[in-house]
């Protein structure tokens, strides 16, 4: 990184075309901001972490582990794996090709040509000039290639915009950051083309060149040179007018060969700019004057510097982080690699995300967004919020609740990880962030559903407080004030719930026949959970048959405060065995939904009362 800064600084010294001191100063400022941003972003990889165990590893240890890891991989079989990954996944982007050809085409248009232009054109005087001593930006192949690459980048930006337009309103969301990145890129390239197009037509540019470079030329020779440029190269002049006599043109051609050709290939090779210049022809006199070209040059220059300075703070930073993420994931594995490096990689991966939306397109539970309006269900939208969370930005309770709900609405199917073009191990990330969020002690009711199965089956220590506390918290929050009266003093509060509440239950197609229950207790007797306890009422509160009966009496608090709801397997033994065909299990599911919705409402109103 320091090397990069040292490498870029001479650019400021010599960045020639800008005639003023201010340009040099701006280059310094841009390079400085860029370097600072780079240091800041990279240092984050080592400073922050997700989860308690990763948090215990000090920054120094992580830096040392990274150095050791990288050094070690150079002298092992990992090097070959990384070389292969670099070629296939970084350069050729095969991961992307396999999933989405349009996106692959878009990325190839942007990434290769952009790098080529950066090296050949933006840094041309250090890179290209070093290889080709005769380098002039107006000579072929550079003249042609600049247009060729530029057009590809514009096509890439166009495809990116098209994709975002086509997917508008559906699952992958475009964020403001996506807009800035594309906007700056588009501004750099359009201003570049505009500058070149106006320069082609510009008579003032022609005059400047003639004055500076043509020696020992008489006026007639220059006039024929002008005629030749007008006729062949798209120059627009009010002084000479075609059609030109053949001998004028042949004299002009000789003058061109003598004076200009060393540094100028035919501007027609700059095919895009040349085509553009034909459109401007009628306005060339105005556009081509020195001050307009100056403005365009400055615009191009400033946009490029702005792009440079903004890069480490934008999603464009992925040009550093994504290849690193791909390489790291190719040779690292949780459980085998140094935990310090796993922790560092996880933070680096957050920067590798380009917000492309591949994960969201394939997400198994993205469909839930249709009924549960929380964008954090979508994996691509989780990342930004996770970044804010891990760098320790203060999140409000309701922000944590929203993020947490999104994080837990995940079946761990792993499709996001499978398709991520930059190889982020999203599945592991979700698990770690989920646990880290639970430490914030905000109740999460999705823990009371099969979404928690994986957490249960993979927990190292089910007796650990860290594992158990979030469950207790969720259960307490849903049972409200703790145990219902029935369990305290064996007396029932006969305060009926509102009719509104029952209407919600009756509105459902399958849950309106509880009144057919005649309390034979078959449901409770066939329930494997009830049978599991010697004294079930003590553990479960109301048993299934009592819940059915309480529904008839509209005893809302009693029903929603029953632990039975959260011990119900949904195995349908009760319902199948009911002689009255009461849909007991379906009703219990409805009640669980209602209890959760009510608990959510209560938490939301609590949050409003004390912001």
């Amino acid at each position: 990184m320091i090397g990069l800064v040292v490498w870029l600084i001479p650019m400021a010294n010599e960045s020639g075309e800008g005639p003023f001191m201010i340009h040099k100063v701006l280059v310094y400022v841009a390079v400085f901001v860029f370097a600072l941003g780079l240091v800041h972003r990279v240092s984050t990889w080592f400073r922050v972490s997700i989860g308690e165990s990763a948090g215990r590893i000090p920054t120094g240890t992580r830096v040392a582990a990274a150095v050791r890891g990288i050094w070690g991989s150079f002298f092992s079989a990992d090097l070959r794996v990384m070389a292969k990954t670099f070629l296939l996944d970084v350069v050729l982007q095969l991961r992307l090709l396999g999933q989405d050809r349009l996106r692959w085409a878009m990325h190839m248009c942007l990434f290769g040509p952009f790098l080529a232009l950066l090296l050949m054109h933006a840094l041309g005087r250090f890179t290209t000039a070093a290889v080709f001593p005769e380098y002039q930006s107006t000579l072929n192949p550079f003249l042609f290639l600049r247009n060729f690459f530029g057009v590809l980048v514009i096509v890439g930006v166009g495809l990116a915009l098209l994709r975002r337009f086509l997917h508008r309103g559906t699952r992958p969301r475009s964020s403001a950051a996506d807009g800035y990145a594309l906007g700056i890129l588009a501004a750099i390239f359009l201003s570049g083309f505009l500058l070149e197009a106006t320069s082609i037509t510009s008579i003032s540019a022609f005059d400047d060149m003639v004055e500076t470079y043509t020696m020992q030329a008489d006026e007639e020779e220059i006039a024929s040179l002008e005629a030749y440029w007008v006729s062949e190269f798209g120059l627009v002049s009010l002084r000479v007018r075609g059609p030109f006599a053949p001998d004028t043109l042949s004299r002009g051609r000789s003058a061109h060969e003598l004076q200009c050709m060393q540094c100028h290939s035919s501007p027609r090779w700059a095919f895009a700019s040349y085509t553009g210049s034909r459109l401007f022809k009628p306005f060339a006199a105005g556009l081509g004057d020195a001050s307009t070209r100056d403005i365009l040059w400055n615009l191009h220059f400033f946009c490029a510097l702005l792009g440079l300075a903004y890069l480490p703070f934008s999603k464009m930073f992925h040009i550093f982080a994504s290849p690193l993420s791909l390489l790291a994931n190719a040779v690292m594995e949780k459980g085998k690699s140094d935990p310090a490096n796993i922790a560092t990689r996880q933070i680096m991966e957050l920067d590798a995300c380009t917000h492309c939306g591949a994960c969201t397109e394939r997400c198994s539970v993205a469909v839930a967004l249709e009924e549960i309006p929380n964008v954090h269900i979508l994996p691509s939208e989780k990342i930004a919020a996770i970044k804010a969370f891990v760098v320790g930005r203060k999140l409000s309770v309701s922000q944590i609740r929203t993020l947490q709900q999104g994080m837990h609405l995940c079946t761990n199917c792993g499709r996001c990880t499978e398709v991520c073009p930059v190889g982020i191990n999203l599945a592991d990330l979700w698990v770690d962030v989920r646990e880290a969020l639970l430490e914030k002690s905000v109740p999460e009711f999705l823990l009371l559903s099969p979404f928690a199965v994986r957490r249960g089956l993979t927990s190292d220590n089910p007796d650990d407080d860290r594992y158990k506390r979030p469950l207790d918290l969720a259960m307490r929050a849903i049972l409200q004030e703790g145990e219902p009266d029935l369990l305290k003093d064996r007396s029932i509060s006969l305060e009926p719930g509102s009719a509104h509440w029952l209407a919600r239950l009756n509105g459902s197609l399958r849950s309106n026949n509880y009144s057919e229950c005649y309390r034979c207790m078959t449901c409770s007797n066939s329930c494997p959970v009830v049978r599991n306890y010697p004294n079930p009422a003590e553990v479960l509160g109301l048993l299934p048959h009592q819940i059915m009966h309480s529904l008839g009496l509209n005893l809302r608090e009693l029903i929603l405060g029953s632990r039975m709801l959260w011990s119900c397997l949904g195995c349908y033994q009760c319902q199948e065995n009911c002689p009255q065909c009461v849909r007991v299990a379906d009703i219990l599911f409805e009640l669980k939904n209602l209890a959760i919705a009510r608990a959510h409402e209560r938490l939301a109103s609590d949050a409003k009362e004390r912001p």
Binding site: N412, S449, F451, V453, R454, C571
Partner: protein, 283 residues
């Protein structure tokens, strides 16, 4: 026979061998299946939380299959129960159905009931048929005693899932017997595996699984034969917890029906995602 295969979220990472073996058996039985990239989770884990989101998820899968004019095949009981429930919702008229249809319509999708969801066992038993499968059997497991575990959502609620009798089912047993193994009667045969409580109330969940395992052992079973990823995951993990440090023979392991049938059809262990000699006996 061509069918759209819905991969269960649980199998895709935690139980790769479940997918491998099911794919291999389907291939051997001449069932052509296609993967539909757009399929989503069946919605099962959402059932406690938001019934509409639960049904919406399954309805979308049905609509995606219908778009391709293919029945939808699942290898998971929970997916099957969910899909069948959505199928049922769409056979009646309700506000919920209309609302879900509206949002499916925004994606250009609809479900009219033209196609249906089918369980792996259903395809093997009902569509291909005991006789046809039996003709392909090349290896039998004489003396292998199995406690057949149906799982809940393939049997209940009967009017929705419509696979077999909820009280005296026989189809899965017949399929197991095709392989030469013996299906033993056991008390906890139709009970839940305990999985839904895992992660919510682990103690209860493990109690229920232990009850099943002991019942199978008491019936003299060598193994519990399962056909649902959630059950498989539960039996595998809980058995590890239960027998950790003690005698493994005290708890019959679970085995996958697809693997058992696969071996019987002469498919190599590797293609079924098995270690050589993984089954405790027979063959």
């Amino acid at each position: 026979m061509k069918i759209a295969l819905l991969r269960c979220c649980t199998t895709s990472t935690a139980l790769k061998y479940f997918e491998l073996s099911t794919n291999a058996v389907l291939g051997a039985l001449g069932v052509e299946f296609i993967d539909v990239k757009e399929f989503n989770c069946c919605g099962y884990p959402l059932k406690n939380y938001n019934l509409k989101a639960y049904l919406h998820a399954s309805a979308r899968n049905l609509a995606l299959a219908e778009q391709r004019s293919l029945d939808l095949l699942t290898m998971c009981n929970c997916c099957y129960g969910s899909l069948k429930r959505a199928q049922h919702l769409f056979s009646e008229d309700s506000t919920m159905k209309n609302e879900i249809r509206e949002s499916l319509d925004r994606e250009g999708l609809d479900y009219s009931g033209r196609i249906e969801a089918r369980h792996f066992l259903q395809v093997v038993h009902d569509s291909i048929g005991i006789e046809a499968v039996g003709k392909q059997v090349v290896r039998v497991f004489k003396g292998f005693r199995l406690a057949v575990h149906y799982g809940c959502h393939i049997l209940r609620p009967r009017e929705i899932v419509r696979f077999d009798s909820p009280f005296a089912p026989t189809k899965f047993d017949k399929l197991v017997e095709l392989t030469g193994a013996e299906s033993v009667p056991w008390a906890a045969r139709l009970e839940c595996c305990g999985s839904p409580m895992m992660g919510v109330n682990d103690e209860l969940s493990i109690d229920l699984t232990k009850t099943k395992i002991s019942s199978a052992k008491a019936a003299g079973a060598d193994a519990i034969c399962v056909a649902c990823p959630y059950c498989e995951y539960q039996f595998q993990k809980v058995r590890k917890l239960v027998v950790a440090g003690s005698d493994p023979s005290s708890a019959p392991p679970s085995i996958l029906f697809a693997q058992l049938l696969g071996l019987s059809l002469g498919i190599e262990e590797e293609r079924l995602g098995m270690r050589p000699g993984q089954f405790p006996s027979g063959g």
